[in-house]
């Protein structure tokens, strides 16, 4: 296991560096005069040149990337006019648009995405595994048919359509829930949960479907295994067989998939965030890319990349544990 972790860590570092190079290259090549955008539409060519020099935009690609790496490992100094601002390592530079430290900017946005991701994760795991378990428990009966149809319907709807429908029903018609307006957890937990309920539900409804299918499939597979036959031959009841043995067998692959999905969720559920106006990483990425704000884009891609790579490693570990029975004596 130690060997495995070391290799994955090395792999992760490689992936993150590769990501930053890809994004730098893409934006270096992309048209759109960054200096002009950063300076403002009515800047004179002289002013644009000054801004371009100040942001080192004139340097060749490798030099800009070198500055970036230097910032990442040792920190960098920026002139604020009257003094010097030291952005300590890991410094992802300053945003062209708002001169804010990218690290601060992302840390300010992460809680919103995290709350959305974790809340939705819990809901869709419960919903998914629950539906899967129920449909196996009731297999062959009408309820299983209905549940299968609901899960398939869940997979067939984009999140922004489900979100819209929920808003129409729960907010406008029945007015049970307020229109979501993100309140940080630290400020007011009760409001935080109340406002995030709608995004959680709509995200969970869409993402729960694959889990329901997978739970059902792997539970059925486990039920056909020899060891379940053994316990049935020893008089163990159906409920215990399904609840204890079949479910336990199905959990490992499901959690592995869950780890994978939550990793990409940290990449910001762009659609859900835009639909419900949640100031998360996803929306920030869309704005930053549209304003060709390179430092923010690179910073965001690295952070989301980190979570995805972390999730992949965790998913593989869980998968390895799940398949432990294959690697037998």
């Amino acid at each position: 296991m130690k060997w495995f972790l070391l290799r994955r860590l090395g792999g992760a570092v490689f992936v993150l560096l590769a990501l930053s190079v890809v994004v730098y290259a893409a934006f270096y090549v992309a048209p759109g005069n960054v200096a002009q955008i950063a300076c403002g539409p009515r800047c004179s060519p002289a002013q644009v040149a000054q801004v371009s020099e100040q942001l080192h935009l004139g340097d060749p690609l490798y030099l800009q990337y070198a500055h970036f790496l230097q910032g990442l490992f040792t920190g960098r100094d920026y002139s604020t006019g009257t003094g010097v601002l030291h952005c300590q390592a890991p410094c992802l530079g300053l945003s062209y648009q708002s001169d804010q430290q990218v690290t601060e900017l992302i840390l300010a946005k992460l809680p919103a995405t995290a709350s959305l991701a974790l809340g939705a994760f819990v809901l869709w795991m419960l919903l998914g595994v629950g539906t899967g378990l129920l449909s196996v428990w009731r297999r062959g009966r009408p309820t299983e048919r209905v549940l299968t149809w609901i899960t398939l319907a869940g997979m067939a709807t984009p999140v922004f359509v489900i979100g819209l429908l929920l808003i129409i029903i729960l907010v406008t018609a029945l007015q049970i829930l307020p229109f979501p307006d993100y309140v940080p957890l630290t400020e007011d937990p009760e409001q935080w949960a109340w406002n995030l309920l709608l995004p959680w539900i709509s995200l969970a409804l869409v993402s729960a479907a694959p889990y329901a299918r997978m739970t059902r499939a792997s539970m059925l597979e486990t039920l056909a295994e020899d060891h379940v036959r053994t316990f049935r031959a020893y008089g163990v009841g159906e409920r215990a067989l399904v609840g204890r043995h079949a479910l336990r067998g199905a959990l490992a692959p499901v959690i592995a998939l869950g780890a994978l999905d939550i990793g990409s969720m940290f990449g910001g559920a762009v659609l859900t965030e835009s639909l419900f106006g949640i100031p998360g990483v996803g929306r920030e990425l869309v704005d930053a890319v549209k304003h060709v704000d390179l430092p923010v884009v690179v910073g965001l891609v690295l952070v989301t990349g980190f979570f995805v790579v972390l999730a992949n490693a965790v998913a593989d570990i869980l998968q390895a544990m799940a398949d432990r029975r294959v690697v037998l004596a």
Binding site: P31, G32, N33, Q36, I37, A38, C39, G40, P41, R42, C43, S44, P45, A46, Q47, V48, Q50, V51, E53, Q54, Y78, S79, T80, G81, T82, G83, L85, Q97, S98, D99, Q100, L105, A108, F160, L164, I167, I168, V171, T172, Q175, F179, P180, D181, S274, L275, F276, G277, P279, R283, V286, K290, H291, V292
Partner: protein, 574 residues
């Protein structure tokens, strides 16, 4: 000002749902008695309470040197007082400038190339220290620093030595063309006559900044206030801004700003649909809420017009802005005036107005200058296209121009759904011109790519959608950058798309700039617009109309003709 960043229509990424809530207690029709001519909730406005501002865009770069505002901006003008400011009265009077920190609109001398201002007495910062002319000089100098870029270009173009000055951090000795003989007076030396300097003095660049308290790019987090409110909290570069009363502000020295609420909570990053939804529901704190950057979209408008109570809570305003088709005469076949005229005849303004949100959000335009007196609006329609275009006349002209079988052209537009240069408007034009035998191919560009392409002399396409707004309500800043030959920029952003360099037009522009009597200047701008219009360098399409909701408890709502929107310094919530 090209695309007013302060006032933007509904942003593309927003998804919207509008609710028509049953609505709280209805309030009767307003009467405009008393000094406060604003509409809104009944009863006399009193001091106190918290005004909530719900915005999509954050108050980015909240530094007087960096803000690009029209007349000092809405929220910024609560904190940054300027030499002069916009008149806060309702209607057409609102389009004039009035003194603010200065005692008057400035005394011009030497043929309007030297402007002198004297400061009122008893002007203090939030920390009680006095405001001096040196602070105003330093404030202007700061706006030249590369780190604090973003402001309007006029100071750089008008002040002597402005083009080369690099800001106080690099040129320690400062800008000579601004003199401060004593703590109360400040004198500006311009390199050419500018009758409209008082309008320029309304911009936040003339806000005083004490040199001792300047922290460069960090100043925006807590700028020193000279206005009725001071910054108590500024999170995420303007995403959350809380203003509270500035004890050292004296109402005596400031007739313009009423400043009724005790506290103003400016929240941003909210979806524009959410803003309209909360304003119409108007529950809880949202009853005392307004917005300074989100208009009603067409779909939301459809609901509002159907509900009397809601319709009463909509402020309608006109901001000096024109959307038009721009031609680049250097590109074939648009060098031929007959082709440009043919297109002017073929345009179907009603389908363009629909694409821009319908007749209540856009009014057809036949003149380049906006249809407001302040711009010297002189109606003309050299190439009458009627409501739905005149394809026959257009075909006739095309035959004369040597294109009997019609022609094929490419229209460049932006991909943003901004109801100005958007794909919808481009497709509306495409359909109209098809009737006149002109096949139009569409070229949609991403927003940044679009600005780089159309505002660069080398890459400017022959036929593209454009729009222009007023930095202040006068023909000067509207007309000159687009038609003045000397404002053609070879490398960098050039807004003179027609690349017109007509000595007669240039000379007339200089003449008008000399006038300090703004009314006569306005008439001259109107006449010049009519004359240049004959060359059909642009095809005016429509002027936008801004409609915005405000909360039920909001009183004294004033819509000024300068900004076209509700003035936050007048409203009360008690």
């Amino acid at each position: 000002m090209r695309q007013p960043s302060v006032i933007s229509r509904r942003v593309a990424a927003a998804t919207a749902v509008l609710v028509v809530a049953a609505g709280a207690a209805a309030c009767g029709p307003k009467d405009n008695k008393g000094g406060d001519s604003g509409s809104g909730a009944a009863g006399k406005p009193e001091k106190g309470g918290t005004l909530t501002v719900l915005n999509s865009k954050p108050q980015e770069d909240f530094d007087p040197a960096r803000l690009y505002t029209s007349g000092g901006g809405n929220v910024p003008s609560l904190v940054f007082r300027t030499l002069t400011t916009r008149n806060r009265e309702d209607g057409a009077a609102g389009a004039k400038a009035v003194p603010d920190l200065a005692t008057d609109l400035g005394t011009p001398s030497k043929n309007a190339t030297v402007w002198t201002y004297t400061l009122k007495d008893g002007l203090k910062y939030e920390d009680g220290t006095a405001i001096t002319s040196a602070d105003i000089k330093y404030g202007i100098e700061r706006s030249f620093a590369a780190e604090l870029s973003g402001g309007a270009p006029y100071l750089r173009d008008w002040l002597i030595g402005g083009a080369d000055y690099q800001g106080p951090y690099k040129d320690k000795k400062g800008l000579d063309s601004i003199e401060t003989p004593d703590a109360k007076t400040i004198v500006f030396h311009l390199d050419k006559p500018e009758g409209e300097f008082p309008f320029l003095a309304t911009q936040t660049q003339t806000t005083p900044v004490p040199k001792a308290k300047d922290t460069g790019t960090k100043y925006e987090e807590h700028p020193i206030s000279s206005g009725p409110y001071k910054v108590v909290k500024n999170e995420g570069d303007g995403e959350r801004l809380i203003l509270e009363r500035n004890p050292h502000w004296s109402a005596a020295t400031d007739e313009e700003r009423k400043a009724y609420p005790d506290r103003i909570d400016v929240r941003s990053g909210i979806d524009s649909a959410v803003i309209n939804q909360r304003l119409s529901a108007s529950q809880g704190a949202d009853a005392a809420a307004v917005t300074t950057d989100t208009n009603l979209g067409p779909a939301e408008l459809a609901k509002v017009t159907g509900d009397k109570k809601l319709a009463a809570r909509v402020g309608t305003g006109h901001f000096g802005y024109t959307n038009y088709i721009a031609f680049n005469p250097k590109v074939k076949p648009f060098d031929n005036p007959k082709v440009r005229q043919a297109i002017s005849y073929a345009v179907d303004r009603s389908s363009v107005v629909n694409a821009a949100g319908g007749s209540s959000l856009a009014e057809p335009a036949t003149t380049f200058l906006p249809d407001q007196a302040a711009f010297g609006y002189t109606p003309y329609d050299h190439f009458p296209a009627g409501k739905n275009g005149d394809p026959a006349k257009a075909k006739e002209l095309l035959k004369e121009a040597g294109y009997p079988k019609g022609l094929t052209v490419t229209l460049t537009h932006s991909n943003d759904k901004d109801f100005a240069t958007s794909p919808e408007i481009a497709t509306a034009l495409q359909e109209a011109l098809k009737k006149a035998g002109i096949t139009v191919k569409l070229q949609g560009l991403e927003s940044n790519d679009y600005s780089d392409t159309v505002y660069n002399v080398k890459s400017e396409p022959g036929f593209f959608l454009g729009g222009w707004g007023a930095d202040w309500p006068s023909g000067g800043p509207f007309f000159a950058p687009v038609f003045d030959g000397r404002q053609i920029v070879k490398s960098g952003y050039n807004f003179n798309s027609g690349q017109l360099n007509d000595p007669a037009v240039n000379k007339e522009i200089d003449e008008i700039n000399k006038l300090t009597d703004l009314d006569s200047a306005a008439k001259r701008w109107g006449a010049l617009d009519k004359k240049v219009g004959e060359q059909a360098l642009t095809v005016p399409l429509f002027h936008p109309v801004y409609k915005r909701l405000y909360g039920e408890a909001v009183k004294n709502v004033v819509i000024s003709d300068w900004t076209g929107v509700l003035d936050i310094s007048q409203v009360a919530v008690k």
